[in-house]
Each structure stands twice: as structure tokens, then as C-alpha cells.
């Protein structure tokens, strides 16, 4: 059956087309480069982080190509070490950390609370330029001698190697400020700019997740900055802090580093969980199940996330007591994540599930994140971690969480909010094919790494014993299919920009405020003040064939006698 907005003419003829939106209201280079509009800044972030992702992805494919055979395949030892370091640094600092908060969050936060912009629009632009500056430093490090310390900068290797550690650390230091600016801005915006009726428990869960993320960004990132400054001081001035030759303690560096970098894992995954909460509710056409549990679990993860950094160091030589305490605390942080997964499932129960592209990504997320989360149990258990630490099991685990989790949620969110951001729809068929490709190729790439890891394949190895070649080759084939699938995804989005039909204001029937304004929104987000609606009262939205999308029902929606699901599109 094909109904409604499969026939664009109807929608386009009758939908009110605003003459001006944030994309066409001004033109020229400076209208973008000097903009303080959060939406344009978000688009600049989006283009930038996707470029970083492309670079990180190419580095990943080089790594996988090299690992096709033991010994030399396409590069030598040192080049390989530089490549995996830069892959990690680029993906972590330039892509995943800013991906959802800075690119999607920046666009959505003000619109979702019915505001014109964030609290500090200039600071927002500043945070983008800091990102750019940090990125330039990191890229400069690649040109000026590269970086071969691993993205973790462990001392004393990083104080003794002759690659450009100082330049790269400066880059990460600057990126940290970008992250702090974004977090601070978001916290203030959410506290001060909500409309009076929008209490904390009427916030979309995406915003709860962004809020929890911002708290971590503001509290944890300074520690990374200080740590890297100390590292620079040690390298440049010979002040002994971490290097035992100068009287320092190398394990201290690990404590400092992971005090930031473990909470940073939650900077990466919390916003992803927020995206999934929105997608599951909207495409199950049901209020999210256990709103408060999900909201509180975001805060719980943010706070507990500060107490578990030592689980990266079970074999490091930290005291046995610390290892035991950190192991116990680590298990506590698994509970809020489990709560979220069960709540998403309960939301789908008796829903009306629409398998459009964003929902396909949401389902992939649940599958992949479940594996990522459950394999965390192996690593949290002390005795098992002693065997698995620093093997491919860990590599597979964090890719399931970071890529299977965050990247997949980012793509789901991008497809979900794409019509709002660009005003264009995309090909559902190709969108779903891209998603299926990413899902299958991802598993082919990373699942074999669990097996390699527990069989004893250490990570960051250029050369490896021949018995692992079969698994490495599976992984390499998977990685290239993954690259290909991501090209399909990019093709779908580029095609949508060029040829996509115009998007209605609310193509999905979601109740959060961003769908009350036109797609794309006007410069100040709303032509008229948004109407008070509960973010998960999906029955407040009714499908209007004339608009080709949904609009607010005139009457209080729940249990309305006219409500007839059969009139809504069964598929798109």
C-alpha cells in the first residue's frame, strides 16, 4: 500500500512553504563563518565531524589492509603505529566526542525547548573555532613527524618517543576547551531558556541525555587538559611528573588520563542513548516507557561514570584494593544501561512499529549495544580481565559500544532529523539498504575480534602469529564492506540534498517541539510560539494527507473518538 507522502505533489501544493529559512536567509562565506545561529553552527560542525570521520575511516581501512597478512602487507612497523594512533585520536577527539552533542545537539536543543538560540551564541561559535583549531593542531602533528603513542599517550613512552607529542597534545587540549564551551552553553540554556510550562520532566529524553553529557564535559575535561599540560611540561622542560627517570610515576599518568577518558566514554554513549529513546518512542507510536527511570539513569551513568576509571588499569600495577573497588563500582554502572534497554523494549511492546530508516538504526543499536554492554561484564570481572586486558577482545568491545552504539545512533539521529535540518526527504529504500549494510558489515568486522582476543591476540600488533590470520581476514573483509555501506549511506544523503522531495514540518508524527516548526526552521526557529505538548503524547499528532505529514490535533488527543490508525501511513 502506498499512501500520502509517497505522492509529493499533494504535500508540496498545499503545505505552507515559508519563504525564508535559516539556510536561505543570508548568503556568502561570512554569513556562515561568522554566524551565531546555532543551526548553522550545527551544520558546520556536522560537515566538519563527518570529514574527520572520513579521515579516521580511511586510517581504519589502512590498518585493516595492513593486517591482511602477518608481517608487512602495505606499510612498515612505524607507519602502522602512527596509523592506529591517528585513527584512535581522530575518531575519539574529532569525531565521536563532538558528533551527537555538537552536531545534532546544537541544532536541536534550542528548537526542542522552543527557544531562539542557545544561551551564549557567540561562545557557541567560539567552541566551533576551537574545534577547528584543535583539529588543525592534530593534523599538523600528522605532518610534523606523526604520532605513535596510541591515543592514550601513556608515559614514559610518550615522553621519550620522537614523534610530535607536544603538537598533538596541544590539539587535544584545545579540543577539550571546545567541549567544555559546548557543555557549559547547553547547561545554561537548559536551565534558563525553557518555556515556563516545560518542567524538567517534560523535557525530551534526548535533552536529559545531553544535559548529563554536558555535566561530564564540564567536570571531566579540565582534568585531561591539566594532564596533557603536565605531559608537555615533562617533555619540553624535563619536569619529572610521570617519567621514573626524572623521579615521576608512570601509573599516575594512567590515573589522570582515565579520570577523564572513562567519563568521556559516557560523553560518547549517553547522547546516543538519548537519540535512541526518541526514535523508539516515535516509531513505536507510544509514549516512552518509564520516562523517569530513563531520565534518572542518564544522570546515574554520568555520576557513576566518574568512579570507575581504574577498571582500565587492572593489570597496571595499581594496588589490589583499588582494583577490587573499581571492579565493584564498574558493575554498578552496568545497571542503568540495562534499565534503558529494557525500557526501550517495553516501549515497543504493543506499539505500532514503523520500520523506516531511523528505526532500523535504532533496532541495530539495541542489537549492537547489547553485545557491547554484555561483553563489558567480562572485562569488569577481575579474573577474566587479567586475561582479556589489552587484547582484541577489548578492541571489539569498545567498537561495539562506540561504533555499533554511538555511530549507529548518530546515523539514526541524522536520518531522523535530516528532514528538519535540510528540508529534504531521502530514499527510504536506499536508506534501509545502507543501514542493513552497515549492520551486517559491522558484525563481520568486529565479532571475529572477540574470538581472536580471548585466544590471546594482543591489540596494537603490527605482526601476529599465523593462527590469527583467518580472523584478521574476516575482519578486513568486513571493514571494507563497512566502508562501502557507509558510502551508500553518504550517497543517500547527498542524493537527498540534490534531488530529495521537500519535507513536511512533521514527517514522523513526533510530538517534540522541533516538529512544530517548518522544515527547515526559520532563522529564529518558530514563526509563532510553539504549543504546549507532552513530548511523548504521540496521539496529539494526526496525519494530514494535505500536508503530507503530521499536525497537531485540535482536540485533546488521547482516546479521541476520531482517532483511527488505519488512516495513518502503514509504511513510507
Amino acid at each position: 500500500m502506498s499512501v500520502a507522502y509517497d505522492e509529493p505533489e499533494v504535500g508540496e501544493l498545499l503545505a505552507p512553504v515559508p519563504s525564508e529559512n535559516y539556510l536561505n536567509c543570508s548568503h556568502g562565506f561570512w554569513s556562515w563563518a561568522a554566524t551565531v545561529d546555532h543551526k548553522r553552527i550545527s551544520i558546520m560542525y556536522l560537515v566538519s565531524v563527518l570529514s574527520a570521520f572520513l579521515l579516521g575511516g580511511i586510517l581504519a581501512l589502512m590498518i585493516r589492509m595492513e593486517l591482511w597478512t602477518p608481517g608487512r602487507t602495505i606499510m612498515d612497523h612505524d607507519t602502522y603505529n602512527h596509523t592506529f594512533t591517528l585513527h584512535g585520536a581522530v575518531m575519539t577527539f574529532l569525531f565521536i566526542i563532538p558528533s551527537i552533542p555538537a552536531a545534532l545537539g546544537n541544532f536541536l536543543l534550542p528548537v526542542m525547548i522552543g527557544a531562539k538560540d542557545v544561551a551564549f551564541p557567540r561562545m557557541n561559535l567560539g567552541s566551533y573555532y576551537l574545534w577547528l583549531g584543535g583539529a588543525l593542531f592534530l593534523l599538523a602533528a600528522i605532518v610534523l613527524g606523526g604520532l605513535d603513542t596510541g591515543w592514550t599517550f601513556y608515559t614514559p613512552y610518550s615522553t621519550t618517543t620522537n614523534s610530535s607529542v607536544i603538537t598533538a597534545s596541544m590539539g587535544v587540549f584545545i579540543l577539550g576547551f571546545s567541549s567544555i564551551f559546548t557543555g557549559l552553553n547547553f547547561i545554561v540554556t537548559m536551565h534558563t531558556m525553557r518555556p515556563p510550562w516545560m518542567t524538567w520532566f517534560k523535557l525530551p529524553l534526548f535533552l536529559w541525555a545531553i544535559y548529563a553529557t554536558s555535566i561530564i564535559q564540564v567536570l571531566a575535561t579540565p582534568v585531561l587538559g591539566i594532564t596533557l599540560m603536565l605531559l608537555i611540561a615533562e617533555r619540553a622542560l624535563g619536569i619529572g611528573i610521570f617519567d621514573p627517570k626524572l623521579g615521576g610515576d608512570p601509573v599516575l599518568f594512567q590515573h589522570f588520563f582515565w579520570f577523564y577518558s572513562h567519563p568521556a566514554v559516557y560523553i560518547m554513549i549517553l547522547p546516543a542513548m538519548g537519540v535512541i529513546s526518541e526514535l523508539i518512542a516515535v516509531f513505536s507510536r507510544k509514549p516512552i516507557f518509564g520516562y523517569r527511570f530513563i531520565a534518572y539513569s542518564s544522570l546515574a551513568i554520568a555520576l557513576l561514570g566518574f568512579l570507575v576509571w581504574g577498571h582500565h588499569m587492572f593489570t597496571s600495577g595499581q594496588s589490589r584494593i583499588s582494583a577490587i573497588v573499581f571492579s565493584a563500582l564498574t558493575f554498578t554502572v552496568s545497571i542503568p544501561s540495562a534499565i534503558k534497554v529494557f525500557n526501550w523494549l517495553a516501549t515497543m511492546y504493543r506499539g505500532s512499529i514503523l520500520l523506516v530508516t531511523p528505526m532500523c538504526y535504532a533496532l541495530s543499536f539495541i542489537f549492537l549495544f547489547t553485545i557491547g554492554g554484555l561483553t563489558g561484564l567480562f572485562l569488569g570481572a577481575l579474573a577474566v580481565d587479567v586475561h582479556l586486558h589489552d587484547t582484541y577482545f577489548v578492541v571489539a568491545h569498545f567498537h561495539y559500544v562506540m561504533m555499533g552504539g554511538t555511530l549507529v545512533a548518530f546515523l539514526g539521529g541524522l536520518f531522523y532529523w535530516w528532514p528538519k535540518m535540510t528540508g529534504r526527504m531521502y530514499s527510504e529504500t536506499w536508506g534501509r539498504i545502507g543501514c542493513l549494510g552497515v549492520f551486517v558489515a559491522f558484525n563481520l568486522t568486529f565479532f571475529p575480534q572477540f574470538i581472536m582476543g580471548s585466544r590471546g591476540m594482543p591489540r596494537r600488533y603490527y605482526n601476529y602469529p599465523p593462527q590469527f590470520q583467518f580472523y584478521h581476514q574476516m575482519s578486513t573483509v568486513g571493514s571494507f564492506l563497512l566502508g562501502l555501506s557507509l558510502c551508500v549511506v553518504a550517497g543517500v544523503l547527498i542524493h537527498s540534498l540534490l534531488r530529495g522531495r521537500k519535507a513536511p514540518a512533521n514527517p514522523w508524527g513526533a510530538a517534540t517541539l522541533e516538529w512544530q516548526t517548518s522544515s527547515p526552521p526559520p532563522l529564529y526557529n518558530f514563526d509563532t510560539d510553539p504549543v504546549e505538548v507532552d513530548p511523548y503524547d504521540l496521539e496529539s499528532q494526526v496525519f494530514d494527507p494535505l500536508l503530507g505529514g503530521y499536525r497537531l490535533r485540535e482536540f485533546p488527543a488521547r482516546n479521541h473518538p476520531d482517532h483511527d490508525l488505519a488512516s495513518e501511513p502503514a509504511r513510507v
Binding site: F293, F314, L345, R350, F378, A381, A383, V384, Y464
Partner: protein, 319 residues
């Protein structure tokens, strides 16, 4: 616990190499427990998800039945049950960890010295080998330190691993329950040849370890200096960076270079004689050959004079 004398070639299971130390089976059984628990929850979650997608997909004629949007009992239940299970996993991991990190009172002690990118295992009589030879079914304790950066000693077959940190001693212990050879790897990234910082663990059958140690310790007494030098050259890690076939690696090759003039990084030149080789072994960064980076670690205190003599004899013999 499996005790297998002479069964070292076993290929192990799908997830693991064959368990070969007294602590290995404990790790495996906890791993398998978590694995079955994870499999159960994975099937539950993904199974429900798929069932819901099929049953509740939006389609013509489908009428959505009302459903609640919260249920505190249910939510507390699915917070508490996983909570209890994780406490159980923590407890077993904790017990296993204590066993793994608490050596028995009577152990055979071996010192480990790690450096970029070779291992040196020193036995109680002072003999140093670059493979780890241990007796079967006898607790062995390693006291480890590093000369340069952090390394990590990992023996997959024993399911154990410990970082080796410069400036302090760390230790680990194990009791081999299977004879044969097992790979030993560096698990903490340490630079260029991290992936080639390998050694073998050789578990000798009962009674044979002592014989091996006595024979190996008397290398210089039983072999002519050139032969002994050749063995030391590979065993003590020189061969990691120096070839004997003329091709340059991290360091220069020694083929046909004895007695020749070589230029140094500071522009001067030097004759490659006994004194220069000896000095380079003990203070390698003093005079570095042109075209090479100053990366060689010092062997001061690790090679005895007769051993250095033997290595020099070996280098002399490389025509």
C-alpha cells in the same frame, strides 16, 4: 584442574588456548558463566525485539492496543535482578583475582627484565635467557621491571598478564599444569617492534628443568667463544635490531664490518674494534653510527665480561 605432562600441543577450545596453569580453569569457568548469562540476555532482548517488530508493525488494519507507559514493579525488578547477577559476577571475579595475585609461600623465583623489544629472564644462579623456562607443576614467581617504557607480560595459555613498569617492581605467579611450549607476548604498546617482543614459555617435565638450567648456564664453559657468542647474540636480543646478513634494521648489520672505519652521527669516524663494540654494548648512546637513531638500550650489568667477549668474537667472525 588438568595436569598433563607432555600435552602442550593441544589446540584448546573455540574461545581459548588449552588451559595450562592452575588458575586458568577458574578464569575459563567464570568466562563461560558470563558467556551463558550474556547469551541468555542477548537472546531475550533481541528475541523480544524481533517478536515485537513482527507482531506490532504498523500495517493496514492493525489496531494498536492500549498499553501502560510505566510500571514501577517491573522496572524495579529489571534493575534488581541484573544487579544481583552482577554482584555474583563481581564476587567470582574478585575471588579468582585474589588467587591469581597471591603467590603461595614456596615459589621458584625468576627475575624479568623487559626492554624495547626483548625479554631477559634471570634465574637464581644468575644465568639469563630470553625464553622463560620453568618447571612443571611448581609455583613460579616472576619479579619484573622495565628499563625503558611500560611493557606487559602476557601468557595466554596461563590466562595471566601483568604490566612491567619502569622504576618499580611488579610481580606475578603461576603454576604450569601442562608441559610444552607456549607463547609469551608483550601486551602493552611499547613502540616500533611491540608486536615482535615475543618469547616462549618452555615448561620442562618434572626433573628436567634443573638439568636444562645447569647445561644452559655453562654455555661459555662448554662451547667455543664464537659459538657461545652466536647463541648470546640471538638469545639476549641483539638480533632484534642487528642482522648478520648485511641488511640494516633498527641498528646496523655486523656483516664484514669488524675492523672497518665507520662514521658517527657527530661527523667523526671510528674504527670498529673490540673497544668500540664493548663501549657500544655498555653505553650505546655515546657514539652512534651515522644514519641510525640513538635507541639502543644499555646492557650494563646484564652481560658479564666473558659474555661480551664471546659476542665480540662472534662479530669478528662475520666476514
Amino acid at each position: 584442574m588438568i595436569l598433563a605432562e607432555g600435552g602442550g600441543s593441544d589446540n584448546g577450545s573455540f574461545w581459548f588456548p588449552a588451559p595450562s596453569s592452575s588458575n586458568a580453569s577458574q578464569v575459563d569457568s567464570l568466562f563461560n558463566f558470563i558467556l551463558s548469562l550474556s547469551a541468555f540476555f542477548f537472546v531475550l532482548i533481541v528475541g523480544l525485539m524481533l517478536i515485537f517488530v513482527v507482531r506490532y508493525r504498523r500495517r493496514p488494519g492493525y489496531v494498536q492496543a492500549p498499553a501502560s507507559d510505566h510500571n514501577n514493579t517491573l522496572e524495579i525488578l529489571w534493575s534488581v535482578i541484573p544487579g544481583i547477577l552482577t554482584i555474583f559476577i563481581f564476587f567470582r571475579g574478585f575471588m579468582g583475582y585474589l588467587d591469581m595475585r597471591t603467590p603461595p609461600s614456596e615459589t621458584y623465583e625468576i627475575k624479568v627484565n623487559a626492554k624495547k623489544w626483548s625479554w631477559a629472564f634471570q634465574y637464581p644462579n644468575g644465568y639469563i635467557d630470553n625464553d622463560l623456562h620453568i618447571p612443571f607443576n611448581r609455583p613460579v614467581k616472576l619479579t619484573m621491571t622495565s628499563e625503558d617504557v611500560i611493557h606487559s607480560l602476557f601468557i595466554p595459555a596461563f590466562r595471566t598478564k601483568m604490566d612491567i613498569v619502569p622504576g618499580r617492581y611488579t610481580s606475578m605467579w603461576f603454576d604450569a599444569t601442562r608441559t610444552g611450549e607456549f607463547p609469551l607476548l608483550c601486551a602493552e604498546y611499547c613502540g616500533t617492534k611491540h608486536s615482535e617482543m615475543l618469547a616462549n614459555v618452555v615448561v620442562h617435565p618434572s626433573g628436567e628443568f634443573e638439568k636444562w638450567l645447569e647445561q644452559a648456564s655453562n654455555l661459555l664453559a662448554t662451547l667455543p667463544p664464537v659459538e657461545a657468542g652466536k647463541i648470546l647474540f640471538t638469545r639476549r636480543g641483539c638480533a632484534q635490531c642487528h642482522t648478520i646478513d648485511g641488511s640494516a634494521r633498527t641498528g646496523p648489520s655486523f656483516k664484514g664490518t669488524f675492523g672497518t672505519k665507520q662514521s658517527l652521527t657527530d661527523g667523526s669516524s671510528i674504527e670498529m674494534d673490540e673497544n668500540y663494540i664493548r663501549e657500544s654494548i655498555l653505553e650505546p648512546l655515546k657514539k652512534v653510527r651515522a644514519g641510525y637513531r640513538p635507541v639502543m638500550p644499555s646492557y650494563k650489568g646484564q652481560l658479564k665480561d666473558p659474555e661480551i667477549d664471546a659476542i665480540i668474537e662472534f662479530i669478528k667472525s662475520l666476514k
